[in-house]
Symmetry: D2
C-alpha cells in the first residue's frame, strides 16, 4: 500500500520537501473526537527545528484541515490536513551526485530520474509534519480511552538519559517538554554530545525509548500481525530508524529463560507481571502491561565533511561536501514523530479489535 | 489481515500444535516455478528437532501439496500444503495456569477461553513447519533470479560465530549445514552454551544474522512499505524474535555520521558501497548491496524450573513447573524459519515491483 | 489479494477440479461460534449435483476441519477445511482447444501453459465446495445476531418464481428446500425449462434473487467500500454471474425519482421505508431494511453442440464438441454458493464495524 | 480500506460538499507519465454542471496539484490534488429530516450525528471532482499503452442512444463530446426526457454503457479479484449506480448457451471472439476483446415534490420538499466519473500484473 498504513484507521502521507505542501489523510477514525488545535500546534512545535541542535530551516507549519472535521470534532470521514512548504530555499542542486546513506541513488533507481530530488523530495523528514499533525488527533482519541504514549532520548553516543521506570508519570512529564528526556539533567549532556558533532561538521546517532500505557490485554495477532510486527512496520517507515527492540530487546540474547521470563501475579484483581522484560507483549498480543520499545536512530547522513561518492548520471566516482541547512542529530525531533505514528497505529489496532466506534463508545 | 501476509505474493498459515495438521497457502507466486520436493524435505529437516539441543518431540513432516502444483511446477494458483501432526502426546493440560512469557494468558484475553490451548495451540512454533515448506518454493523462485538468503547463529550468550563477510559464499555454505554457523568451530561453543542451560533446567537466547544477496536496486517504498518495514513485519511474527536491526543496527547509536555513512563508488560499472553499514537499504529502498540484518531471539519461555504465575481461571497466584518436551534454545531451528519467511517476503516485494510473472520472465 | 477476500473476516480458497482437494481458510471469525456439522453437510448437499437438472459427477464432500475448531466451537484462529476430490474421471483432455466462454484461453494467457487445465482447474465450480463449507460457519455466526440470508431462482428464461415479499418467512422456508423457489409450483416450470435445454444439448441461464434480513442500520462506507461494492465484489467472483443489481435494479432506469425514492416512516419506534426499491442501502450504507439484490447467471458454457473455436497451441481455428459430465444449468446449485459468500461477506462487514468479538458479544 | 481503493495504484478521496475542499491522492502510479493539465481541465469541465439538464451550482474547479508531479510529469510518489469548494451557498439545513433515498439517515446511524450534513457532506457527488482530476492522469497513463475508455448514455427512460458497435472509433468520438452519446441525434431525445422530469419537479434515471479497448489478455484473477469484481467494486462506490452488468448482462438470463457463448477464432494472428457477449472477460480474466458493461443509474433522489419522511432527531414522521440547486438527472455527468474511476482501476490491474513501471516500460 506504499504511502498508506493501517487497516481500520488508515494513514496516508504525501508531499515533497520543496513542493507546494506536505500532508496527511487519516481515514476511519471514529466520529466525535475532539480536534484539539492547540495540541496539533504544540506537537508540530516539538517537531520543528529549534535551538542549537537543529537545522536553521524553520517552517511555520500553518496547517489547514480540509475535511473530516466539523464543529471542532471528527466526522468519521477522511481527515485531510495540508501543511504548506513556505521556507524552501531555491538553490542549485547538484543532481546526480549521490549523498552517501541518503536515498538519492535508490530514488533514482526506483523512479528513473523523474523523482523530485530537491531537498530529498518525498524522502525528506519534512513529510513527518503531516504525520505529527494527524497523530495529534489520534493522541486525543486515545486519551479518551486512558491510553498515553511518550518517547524520550535514551542515549546519544555516551550521553544517556534514565530509562522509563514510573511510566505513566514520566509520559505525563514528557508531554510538557520540548527536549524529551526523563531526567532534566540529561538535556545538557545530550545537547553537548550533539554540538560536539556539529562542531566537527559531523552528525550523531542514538537511541530513543517509547512507552504506551493503558493498553487493554488481548490486542494483536499471533501470526503476521503481532503487535511487534505492526509497530515495527510503522516505525521502520521513519527515515533514520535502523533498529527496533521490544522490552529488554538485545539483552534477551544474554539472558537465561529464568531471567527473561516475566512472572505473572494478581495485583488489585488485575493480572500484572513482576518485571516487564517482554515489553507488554506475549505471543504478539498485549498483556496489559506498558508496551515498551527502543529504536536505534542512525546519525543524520547529511554532514559537511567531504565524502567519496558517485555521480549516477555521469557514471563517475566523485566527491561531495553537503552544504545547506541540516540537523546534526534528528534524535530530539524524531521523538514526537514516533509518538504520532504509534498513536495512529494503536488507534488502528483498537478499531480493528473493538470496532470503529471504540473511541466514542469505549472498550467493552 | 491476521494470518495472511503479503500483497502480490501472499502467505497464509493455519493450524494448531495438537490439532490434525498445520499448513500454509502461498498465493500469487508465478506459474512455472520448479517445486523441488527434495529442497522442501531438506528445509523441513533443518527445522525439525535434532540432536542434543532440541526438544525430543520429532514430527515426520509428511507434507502433502493439495493444490497449485501440476507436473512438478507451480500453476500460478494458490499452493496449499498440509502437514499432519502425528506425534502429539495426549496429556493433562493444566489449563488456566499461565506459563510465564508464553501466550497462554494473552490468548485467553483474546479468545475468551475458546482457544485450543494444547501445546500452545496456534501460537506454537509447530506452525512454522508450514512456512518452511512454502518458503522452500519461494527459495526456488528466487534462485532463478540469482537471489539467495542465509541465516546463521551469531551469538548465544557468550558463544559467538563470525559475522557475514564474504556473503554469497557463506550463504552457499550455510545451505548445506544442519547447524547454521559460518565458522565450523562455533558449533561446539554454541552447543555447549545451550547444553549448559538445559542442564540447569533453563533456556537461553541469542542473536542470528541474515543476508540476502542478489537483490536489484530500487525495490521498496519511502513511507510505510520500506524494505525494513516489510521485513521486520514478517520477522516479528515469528515467536521469540524481540529485536530486529538492519546493517550495523544498534551500533549506529554510537557512531558519527562520518563513520556510519556508506561511501558509494563504481566497481565494474556497478554502483557499490565501500562499507555496508546500512545493510543494503537507503531511504527504505534497496541499493543493490546485500541486505543484512540481525534478530534477537529470546530464551525459550518453557523452562522446568519452578516459576511464580497466576491461574487466570481461578484468579489466584500460583506456581508452575513446566514439564514435557521443550527446546532449551530455538536459535538453531529458527534460522531456517527466518530464511523461509524472508524468501516469501522478498518474492512479494519483487512481484509488486516487477509484476507477477517476474519469476518466469526475469527482472527487466 | 487474488484468492483471499475480506478485511476483518478473510476467506481464502484453493484447489483445482482434478487435484487432490479443494478447500477454504476462514480467518478472523470470532471464537465461540458453534460449528454445526449438520448444517455444513446440508449446505454441501444443496450444492451437490442432484436430480435431473445437474451434472452426474457427484462428490461425497467428505470435508475435514484441520484447524480453528476446538470442542465444537470456533477458536478465533484460522479455520481450515479441506474437501478431497474423489470422483475425478481421468480422461484425455484436448488441451489447447479453447471451450467457448470458458476460461481455457484466458488461463493460458495468464498462466502461460502451466495451469492445471483438467476439468477447468482452479476455475472450476468445484472450488465453491470450500466456500459453502466455510459459509455454513458464517451462517451460524450470523444466526446468533438474528441475521439470515436466502437466495432463490427468480427466473430461468421464461419460467419464473415469485419475488421476495415476506422476506423473513420466505428465507426460513428456503432453508429447507433442495430446489430453492419461493412458490413451490415454480419448481416444475423451471425444471422443465432446464430439461428442455438439456434435450437440445444446450444450456440455459437465469436470474436469482437474494435477501439478507436483520442487518443493523449504519454498516458500510460512502466511498469504495459501499455495501454494494463489497457484495458485488464477492458475487462477481462466482463464475457465471454476469450482472448484479440492488433493489429494483434495472428498473431504476425507467423510473422517476418520485417513483423510485423510498419514503421513510416510523413503525414501532423504528425507522422503516414504505417501499424497498433501494434494497436496504442508501449512500452505500445499510438502512436497516432487508438487503435485496438480483444476480444474472449466464448459461453454463459447456454444451455438447459443436462450436467454432481455436486451438491456442497449434494456433489454428478448429471445432469442439464438449463431452463429459456437465450441468445444463447451474442456477439451482449457485443459490447456496451465493448464500455462503454473502454470509462470509456480511460477517466481515460486521466485524469491521463492531469489532472482532461481535459474534460473541452482540451488536452494541 | 474505506476511502482508498486499489492494490498497486491506490486512489484515496476526501472532502465534503460544503467544507473547504475536496481532493484525491493517487499513489503508486509510475513515474514519467505526462500530466496533461488541459486534459484534467477538460475532464473536470465534462463533470461540471452545464446546460439545462444540470444543477445551477457551478464550481470553477480550480484544482491544485500539491505533490507527486515535477517538471510536468509524475514522480512516482503520491499525487495529491485539491479542489477548493468556492460556490457553497450557506443556508439553513433542516438537519434531522431525512431526504428519501439519500444518505442522511444512514449517515446519522453511522456517524451518530457528527457527520457534516451540509449538502450531503462526504456523500455528495462533489467528491467525484477529485476522482475526475486524478482519473485524467490515469487516462494519460493508459493512453501510452494504447488503452482507451469511453462511456455514453445508453438510455434515459424511453429515450435511447445506439449501443457500442465500432468501439475504438466511438470512444474516440465520445472524448470530444460534452453530452456523451454515440448517435448525435440522441442528445435531443435524452435532453427532452430529462427536461420533462424537471418540469414535473421530478428526476429521472437511466443506463450508461462503458467500453475499455486495448486491454491485453490475461489480466484478472479467477477468484475474488475477477475483473468483474474489481470493476464493480469501483463502480458501485459511485452514488446513484445500482446495477452493473457485463457484456449482454441481463440478457444472459434469457439465453441458451449456444446463443451466449462467444466463439473464438484467429484474426490476423490474434485470438478474437465472433460476438462479445461476455464483455471481454472469461473466468474473471480479460480475453483481449473490449471490456463492455452497463450501469443502471437511479433517478437523483433530490426532487422538489413533497415526500413523506421522518425526522430522526425528533423521532417523528414528517414531510419534506427539497429546495435548492439539484440535477434532475446525473446521467450526463456520471459518464466522465465512470471513465475516471475505470481508468484508475485499470491502471491498478495493469500495475499488479506487469509491475509498477508498466506505464514507463510497456507491457512485456
Amino acid at each position: 500500500m506504499k504511502n498508506t498504513f493501517g487497516t481500520s484507521v488508515c494513514t496516508t502521507v504525501f508531499g515533497e520537501s520543496h513542493g507546494p505542501a506536505v500532508g496527511v489523510i487519516i481515514d476511519g477514525l471514529a466520529p466525535g473526537i475532539d480536534v484539539d488545535t492547540e495540541l496539533i500546534s504544540s506537537q508540530l512545535k516539538k517537531r520543528r527545528p529549534s535551538g542549537k541542535t537543529d537545522t536553521p530551516r524553520v517552517e511555520n507549519d500553518n496547517y489547514q484541515i480540509l475535511s473530516g472535521v466539523f464543529n471542532g470534532k471528527t466526522t468519521g470521514t477522511p481527515i485531510a490536513i495540508v501543511i504548506p512548504n513556505e521556507n524552501t530555499k531555491s538553490k542549485d542542486y547538484n543532481y546526480g551526485v549521490a549523498r552517501p546513506a541518503h536515498a538519492d541513488y535508490t530514488a533514482y533507481m526506483k523512479y528513473h530520474g523523474y523523482e523530485d530530488y530537491r531537498g530529498g523530495g518525498h524522502f525528506s523528514g519534512r513529510v513527518t509534519a503531516g504525520l505529527v499533525a494527524g497523530g495529534a488527533i489520534a493522541i486525543s482519541a486515545l486519551k479518551g480511552l486512558g491510553i498515553s504514549i511518550g518517547t524520550h532520548i535514551l542515549s546519544c553516543k555516551d550521553a544517556t538519559d534514565t530509562p522509563f521506570n514510573e511510566v505513566e508519570k514520566e509520559i505525563s512529564l514528557l508531554q510538557g517538554k520540548q527536549f524529551p528526556v526523563i531526567n532534566d539533567s540529561s538535556e545538557e549532556k545530550i545537547t553537548n554530545a550533539i554540538l560536539k558533532a556539529r562542531e566537527a561538521n559531523d552528525s550523531i546517532g542514538g537511541k530513543i525509548e517509547t512507552a504506551i500505557v493503558g493498553m487493554p490485554a488481548g490486542v494483536g495477532e499471533p501470526w503476521f500481525d503481532s503487535v511487534e510486527s505492526i509497530l515495527s512496520h510503522a516505525l521502520f517507515s521513519i527515515g533514520g530508524i535502523k533498529g527496533v527492540e521490544f522490552g529488554i530487546g538485545s539483552e534477551f540474547s544474554n539472558c537465561l529463560g529464568s531471567q527473561a521470563n516475566d512472572k505473572f501475579r494478581y495485583e488489585n484483581g488485575q493480572v500484572v507481571t513482576e518485571t516487564n522484560n517482554n515489553g507488554g507483549i506475549n505471543g504478539g498480543i498485549t498483556n496489559g502491561m506498558p508496551i515498551i520499545f527502543k529504536c536505534t536512530v542512525k546519525p543524520t547522513p547529511s554532514i559537511s565533511l567531504e565524502q567519496d561518492t558517485v555521480n549516477f548520471l555521469t557514471k563517475e566516482n566523485t566527491k561531495i561536501e553537503i552544504k545547506g541547512r541540516h540537523d546534526p542529530a534528528i534524535i530530539r525531533r524524531i521523538c514526537v514523530v514516533v509518538d504520532s505514528i504509534c498513536a495512529l497505529t494503536v488507534c488502528d489496532l483498537l478499531a480493528q479489535r473493538y470496532g470503529t466506534d471504540v473511541f466514542l463508545k469505549g472498550i467493552k
